[in-house]
Subunit: 346 residues, 2 copies
């Protein structure tokens, strides 16, 4: 009989609320014969305040044993910027070699977009997850003096770039439009840019059926708002992907709907699924958070574990739910979770 | 009697066309007693193809002698990416220590924005111009092999950050809303981020009348499309500024209206003014380019040289021209230049 052994990291702010709904829908969608086991990990701002720990080795080891991780959101204004990001969230992405940071963007029916004319938007950003300016390389000298110098080093390897580029080509080849856009800034960041562009061109030869395109990151932001329908699959570096996927979330109805997967396709380590949004401390505990991004992240999790039909059921449920909702009254976190759980079960 | 000794670099693609209109309006707006001298520099793709040169020392020296530089656009698909950007455009910004890259964004009346609901947009981005990931620091090892590693180093100094932050505070203090937002990514780029944030907080103490705010760059892109009216002055690093100002141009009616100044406020070297847009080779030579961004850059140039009244006349002319234009027929580059020249002269 089948089973899923899931680690759950609710985290901070609205994290707990949205994860509860994600698990509710997961339970509702799974076939009877699949045994779901979950184990909650108490990590985040409260833990750090209590013990000073972000992610102790023992817990990192324990997390390795699970099939996948569902994460709510990490961070709190009371914790110095960077402590939990670097010490917990990025530590997980790097320790588990999550080199595919998968972020689909779709403008669902009946959702508000800030864009006039409601363009059709349905693309996926394949963001590199283990290199670029996110490696923590860098430092500062004469810190705090008028002679301080602070550096940040973007590290890019042929190994790291090629595996994410190849994954993106394979994803593009599997979609109806078969189009892949590389986004970088190779007219300024010439060393990293050449590695990315040369790798892209090399792998392109293996996928003659995929149409390719290149855009500088600045130009890409223009097309995100003026012509988002031109994009199908986008592959880009860690930092550009961070920026572009928030913008993508904004134009496709907001960060409340943006799902993501931190994926290690080799299976050597568990992959981790989380909404793109943050902890939203201003609305935490009030039942106002939209759990849809987490629920869509559960769909990505199911797809990753081989439950394609169940993933599609969740995505179709979200689409139907949004199409049929009554925009007049704001639903609570719980109500949205309940509505989706009912839809996927039926 | 007063005089302006102007260097003109038309550059490539639509560069020549838009610069012609910029000079037309400059001539029309200047008081009779101001003597305008211009000297054209043949730099860009054609020069590079002919001679292999991007910016020879002699011309760099000669450029130093001018009061200011007006630049059209640089670049062509026939030139390898980075050659002209690093060898000409960025070389000028760095050699002349253009540490203020000033980019105002305003949604003029009667102009198309991709944003529904037409929010009020009137902000200015003060982009650092001489540091960050633009320094050319970095390199590659085992280039072209499967073991290649390519790095890009973002260099940030207390000197470089403090001078741009102080300039931005002064600009914010001089505007009615007096609000300054720092944009960075200090939860990931912790070394550079701390330098920027600490400097920002330190200088803020000198400007108690200015309201301050901090946003991560990814979150900032969201607000650019959902709530652009929240911004007044933004200060940010070289790369984030590059990305954000293209997005800003897109939401305020397009890159055809976005002006910029590469400013050295000390006066040690000439400042350089240029539209944010590129060379648009697809429409070059057809009289289709919108010269308004260049003409608004001429306004920034005049303001920098102390001709405030003339700068305002150009900006008001652009505003009136856009408000009164007949959106039904597309005007040529020349017609737009003529219309604005007539307006500023009267
Ligand atoms: C919280 C932060 C470290 C993170 C990132 O920059 O990757 C977030 O913005 C994201 O996009 O998942
Ligand atoms: C052409 C390129 C080097 C330049 C930059 O990145 O600064 C351009 O995008 C700009 O914004 O002026």
């Amino acid at each position: 009989s089948r089973s899923i052994d899931l680690a759950v990291i609710p985290g901070d702010g609205i994290g707990q609320e949205v994860v509860t709904q994600g698990l509710k829908v997961l339970n509702a969608v799974l076939p009877q014969d699949v045994k779901l086991e979950t184990k909650e990990y108490d990590l985040g701002a409260q833990r750090w305040h209590r013990t000073g720990e972000t992610l102790p080795d023992a817990e990192l080891e324990a997390l390795k044993g699970h099939d996948a991780i569902l994460l709510g959101a990490i961070g709190d204004p009371s914790v110095p910027s960077g402590v939990l990001e670097r010490g917990l969230l990025l530590k997980l992405r790097f320790a588990f070699d999550h080199f595919i940071n998968l972020r689909p963007s779709k403008l669902f029916p009946n959702t508000a977009t800030p864009l006039a004319g409601r363009p059709e938007i349905d693309f996926v950003v394949v963001r590199e997850g283990t290199e670029g300016p996110y490696t923590g390389n860098g430092g500062s000298l004469r810190t705090g003096t008028e002679h301080e110098i602070a550096t940040e080093v973007s590290v890019n390897t042929a190994h790291g770039v090629e595996r994410v580029v190849r994954d993106a080509f394979a994803r593009a080849a599997a979609r109806p439009r078969k189009k892949l856009t590389l986004v970088h800034k190779n007219n300024v960041l010439v060393y990293a840019g050449h590695l990315w562009k040369n790798t892209f061109d090399k792998v392109a030869a293996e996928f003659p059926e995929v149409t390719t395109d290149y855009l500088h990151v600045d130009a890409a932001t223009i097309f995100f708002v003026t012509q988002p329908e031109r994009f199908d699959v986008i592959v880009t570096d860690n930092l550009f992907g961070d920026i572009l996927t928030d913008l993508a979330a904004a134009v496709t109805g907001g960060i409340g709907l943006a799902a993501s997967g931190n994926i290690n396709p080799t299976g050597a380590f568990p992959s981790m699924f989380e909404p793109v949004h943050g902890t939203a401390p201003d609305i935490a505990g009030q039942g106002k958070a939209d759990p849809t991004a987490t629920i869509l992240s559960v769909a990505l999790l199911l797809r990753h574990l081989g439950y394609e039909a169940e993933a599609v059921r969740i995505e179709e449920a979200v689409s139907a739910d949004l199409a049929e909702r009554d925009g007049k009254h704001a639903r609570t976190t719980d109500e949205i979770g309940d509505a989706l759980a009912v839809r996927v079960a039926s």
